[in-house]
C-alpha cells in the first residue's frame, strides 16, 4: 500500500521534525528514498521535499507509538535517533511502519532486518555511552569541573542522569566536540545546549598534581609479567585515549615508571605540566 517515491525528505534535524516525516509518509502513503536533516547538506541528486516541524503532528505520532506498538518501541526510537548509524532516519521510519503493522510483536521480531539493524545501532549507542560513564575525565578549576569528549553517537542525553546524580552538588560541563553540544549542570539545574569551539583551560597547580598522582597510580597498578597491549586496546579503544590523562601521547612507555615519576616531579617543581588535552 505504501509506494516508494523518488524523493528525499529534508527536515530540521530535531526529533519532532523526524516524527513529522513519519506523519508525512503516512499522509501520502509513500516512502522516500532518503531522509536528510538540514545540516547534512549533501548534494542530493534526488528531488527534495521540505518537511515542516509541526508540534501537533509530531505529538500525534508520538502518542500513537506506545498506544499502537508499545512503550519499549518508543524508547527504542528515541535511542535510535541518537545513534550515529547512517540513514538512521529512514531506518526509524521503516521500523515504525513495521511497528504500526505488527504491534507489540515487533519487539520480538529480532531476525527482521530492520528491527535487527535498529537494535544493533542502539546497542552500539549504549555501549559507547557505557564507555563514557568511565572514560569522561574532569579537570577541576576551583569550584567548576569540565570535560571534553568526542563520541561517535550523541551520548550526552544517555549519560546525563548518571553524572547529574553522581555530582549533584557540583557545577560541571561535559563538552561533546563531535556534535557541538554541552551538558551543563549546577546544583538543581541541568541542560544540554549547543556549544561551538570550546577548549579546556590549562590545568592549575592542584589539577596538575592529581593528574600526576593518577598517572603514577596507573603505571603502578599494571603487572608487567601480564602485559597485554592487544587486550587493553580492545577493551579501551584508541579513539578514547586522546582525552585520558593516563594514556596521553606525551606518556608512552609504561615500563619506565620510575623515570616517568621523576620527570613529572621535575615538571611539577618547575610549575609546568605534561597534562592532557
Amino acid at each position: 500500500m505504501f509506494n516508494t517515491v523518488a524523493l528525499a525528505y529534508t527536515y530540521d534535524g530535531s526529533f519532532e521534525g523526524l516524527l513529522c516525516c513519519v506523519f508525512e509518509s503516512y499522509t501520502w502513503k509513500e516512502i522516500p528514498l532518503a531522509i536528510h536533516s538540514e545540516e547534512d547538506g549533501q548534494g542530493l541528486l534526488l528531488e527534495s521535499k521540505w518537511i515542516d516541524t509541526d508540534c501537533t503532528k509530531a505529538d500525534r505520532v508520538l502518542k500513537a507509538i506506545p498506544f499502537r506498538i508499545c512503550s519499549e518501541a518508543l524508547e527504542l526510537v528515541r535511542l535510535g535517533f541518537w545513534t550515529c548509524t547512517p540513514d538512521k532516519e529512514l531506518l526509524l521510519l521503516n521500523f515504525l511502519q513495521l511497528g504500526f503493522t505488527h504491534g507489540a510483536k515487533i519487539m520480538d521480531m529480532l531476525a527482521d532486518d530492520t528491527v535487527n539493524a535498529l537494535l544493533k545501532a542502539v546497542q552500539q549507542l549504549k555501549r559507547e555511552s557505557h564507555h563514557y560513564l568511565g572514560f569522561v575525565r574532569f579537570s577541576i578549576y576551583g569550584p567548576v569541573m569540565a570535560a571534553v569528549i568526542e563520541p561517535r553517537s550523541f551520548v550526552l542525553p544517555v549519560i546525563q542522569d548518571h553524572f547529574c546524580d553522581r555530582f549533584r552538588g557540583e557545577s560541571f560541563l561535559i563538552y561533546d566536540k563531535t556534535h557541538g553540544m554541552a551538558l551543563i549542570h549546577q546544583p538543581g539545574k541541568q541542560a544540554i545546549i549547543p556549544l561551538d569551539e570550546w577548549t579546556l583551560p590549562e590545568p592549575d597547580l592542584a589539577e596538575g598534581k592529581y593528574r600526576s598522582l593518577w598517572e603514577g597510580f596507573y603505571d603502578a597498578i599494571a603487572i608487567q609479567e601480564r602485559r597485554n597491549d592487544g587486550l587493553r586496546s580492545s577493551l579501551m579503544p584508541k579513539r578514547y585515549w586522546k582525552h585520558l590523562p593516563e594514556m596521553n601521547g606525551s606518556r608512552t612507555a609504561v615500563s619506565s615508571t620510575k623515570v616517568k615519576l621523576g620527570e613529572s616531579r621535575q615538571q611539577l617543581e618547575n610549575g609546568e605540566f605534561h597534562g592532557s588535552i
Binding site: 574532569f138 548518571h162 546524580d165 598522582l213 603487572i223 579501551m236 615519576l261
Partner: protein, 461 residues
C-alpha cells in the same frame, strides 16, 4: 622532596625496616604496587543514588574507568592501607621477610586521594586492603577510621570494596561491613595443605570464619531491611574471594569444586582466580622464571561462568579421571564433545536451559532466540543475525528438524571449527596430523605436579 629514580633500588635493601616513604606520590606507588596482585577490581552489585550533600552513587553493572597495560579493568583505587606485615606468607610480595620499601597511608591522605580521583571521574571508588600491622584488630580499626572519614565526613556514596582480615574480632568486622559495598576474604590457596605450607600464619578456619560471619550478617540485614526501610545496608554488593592458581599442585577439578562449594555454602558473589606470578624465590614455589599460567586462569574463568550463568555443575565439566581443563578447547566445547548423544537439539523447540549448553550460543543469544521464536520460526541465517556463532553451533543444532545444508561433520572440520584462532596457533605446526581423540596434543592435558606437596582438600566446604 625525596628523589625517586632508578638508583632508589639500592636503598631497598636496607630501608625496609623504617618508613622512608613520606611523600604521597611515593606512598601511592608503593601501596599500589603491593596491592596489584589482588585481582578483583569490580564495582558491580550495588545500586545506590546520591543524596543531598553527598558525592557519588553506585551502578549495579559496575563501571570500568580505565584499563592497565595488562588489560585489566581499573575501576577502583586499589591500594593497601599499609604494606607492613607481621605475616610471612611465602608467595606474597609484602611478607615480613621480604626486603621491600614500606609505607602507610594516613586516613586523611587516603580519603583525599579517593575524593579527588572520584571527582575527576578516574575511579568508581576505593578498594582497600592492608598488610597486618600489630594484629588483625588494630589493622581493621585503621581501615575503619579511613572509611568513616570518607563516608561520614566527605559524605562519599561511591563504591567501597574492603578486605576482611582473618582473625579480626566479629564486632569490628560488623562495623566494617556497614561502611563497605563489598567485603572479601581471600581463600589464598585451593587446599588446606598448600595453605599450611605456603601461608603458615593463616589457617582454613581463620579464613572461613569471617566468610561465615559476613554471610550471616548479610542474611540478618536483609530481614532487617524488610522490617525497617532505612536500616543501614551491610555489604549490599555481597562478598567475594580469590585464590592463587599455579603456586601449588592443586588440580582444576579441586579448584572448581571448591569454587562451587563457596558459591553454595557462603553465597559468594564472585570467586576470582589469580595466575601465580613469581615474586620471590622459595623452595616450595615455582621458580622465578615461571610464566604466570594465564591460559589456565582463563579456562577457570570460563568454567566459573558456566557455573554461574549456564547451569553447569563442576562435576559435569571435570572429574577425578580428567582433573584438568584441555588447553586447546574451552570447557563448554569439551563438555559438548564428550556428550554428543545429547545433540543435535532443535533451536525452535528446546528450552532456554538446553540452548545455553550449545557451543556458540551465549546468554544473550539464547535470550534472543527465545524472544525471536515467539514471533516466528527461526532458520540458520536468522540465528546468525541473533549473534549465534554458527561456526561452532552448526554441529549441535537443527532448525525445523534439519541440520545446516552442506554441513560436513568430519573430526577434522569439527575440531578446527571449535577452536579459536589462538587455540589453533598452539598446535599449528602439527595441525596436519590432528585427529580427535587419539592425538597426543589433545590428550596432553597439563598434569598436576605432585612434587613437594601432597594434594589436600577443604572437605567440608
Amino acid at each position: 622532596m625525596v628523589g625517586f629514580d632508578k638508583n632508589v633500588c639500592s636503598v631497598y635493601t636496607f630501608s625496609y625496616e623504617g618508613e622512608i616513604a613520606v611523600d604521597v606520590m611515593e606512598k601511592l606507588q608503593i601501596l599500589t604496587a603491593s596491592a596489584k596482585y589482588d585481582v578483583a577490581c569490580t564495582s558491580s552489585g550495588s545500586n545506590r543514588n546520591n543524596q543531598a550533600g553527598g558525592i557519588g552513587n553506585t551502578v549495579s553493572m559496575g563501571i570500568c574507568h580505565s584499563f592497565s597495560a595488562d588489560g585489566r579493568c581499573i575501576s577502583l583505587l586499589k591500594v593497601l592501607m599499609t604494606n607492613r606485615c607481621v605475616y610471612d606468607c611465602a608467595y606474597c610480595v609484602n611478607r615480613k621477610s621480604n626486603p621491600t620499601r614500606r609505607a602507610t597511608f594516613t586516613p586523611e591522605e587516603l580519603a583525599d586521594l579517593t575524593i579527588q580521583f572520584y571527582r575527576r571521574n578516574y575511579i568508581e571508588g576505593l578498594f582497600l586492603s592492608s598488610g597486618v600491622i600489630r594484629n588483625p584488630d588494630y589493622t581493621t580499626e585503621q581501615m575503619i577510621s579511613a572509611l568513616e572519614l570518607l563516608r561520614n565526613v566527605h559524605q562519599f556514596r561511591g563504591y567501597i570494596h574492603v578486605k576482611a582480615i582473618p582473625g579480626t574480632d566479629d564486632v569490628l568486622l560488623s562495623r566494617l561491613g556497614l561502611l563497605a559495598d563489598r567485603m572479601s576474604v581471600n581463600i589464598e590457596l585451593p587446599s588446606r595443605e598448600s595453605l599450611g605450607l605456603l601461608a603458615p600464619d593463616k589457617s582454613k578456619d581463620s579464613i572461613l570464619k569471617p566468610m561465615a560471619l559476613i554471610k550471616e550478617k548479610i542474611n540478618e540485614n536483609s530481614s532487617d531491611i524488610v522490617k525497617y526501610n532505612h536500616a543501614p545496608r551491610f555489604v549490599p554488593a555481597g562478598q567475594s574471594t580469590q585464590m592463587i592458581v599455579g603456586a601449588s599442585p592443586d588440580s582444576d577439578y579441586k579448584i572448581l569444586t571448591l569454587t562451587e562449594g563457596l558459591y553454595r555454602k557462603y553465597g559468594l558473589k564472585r570467586v576470582f582466580f589469580s595466575a601465580y606470578t613469581p615474586v620471590v624465590e622459595h623452595s616450595l614455589l615455582p621458580s622465578l622464571d615461571t610464566k604466570p599460567p594465564l591460559l589456565r586462569e582463563h579456562r577457570l574463568y570460563q568454567a566459573d561462568w558456566l557455573l554461574r550463568f549456564y547451569g553447569f555443575q563442576a562435576n559435569e565439566l571435570l572429574d577425578e579421571a580428567a582433573p584438568n581443563f584441555n588447553p586447546l578447547l574451552d570447557p563448554k566445547c569439551s563438555w559438548a564433545l564428550n556428550h554428543r548423544e545429547q545433540f543435535p537439539v532443535d533451536i525452535n523447540r528446546v528450552p532456554y536451559n538446553t540452548l545455553l549448553r550449545v557451543p556458540g550460543i551465549g546468554v544473550k543469544s539464547a535470550q534472543r532466540i527465545v524472544a525471536a521464536r515467539r514471533a516466528g520460526t527461526l532458520d540458520f541465517p536468522a540465528l546468525k543475525k541473533l549473534g549465534v556463532v554458527l561456526k561452532r553451533a552448526q554441529f549441535f543444532i537443527t532448525c525445523k528438524g534439519k541440520p545446516l545444508e552442506g554441513l560436513k561433520v568430519g573430526e577434522h572440520t569439527l575440531l578446527r571449527s571449535l577452536m579459536s584462532g589462538q587455540e589453533l596457533s598452539l598446535i599449528q605446526p602439527q595441525y596436519e596430523q590432528l585427529s580427535l581423540f587419539d592425538d597426543t596434543y589433545l590428550s596432553a592435558l597439563p598434569k598436576a605436579e605432585t612434587t613437594g606437596l601432597t594434594k589436600g582438600g577443604w572437605p567440608d566446604v
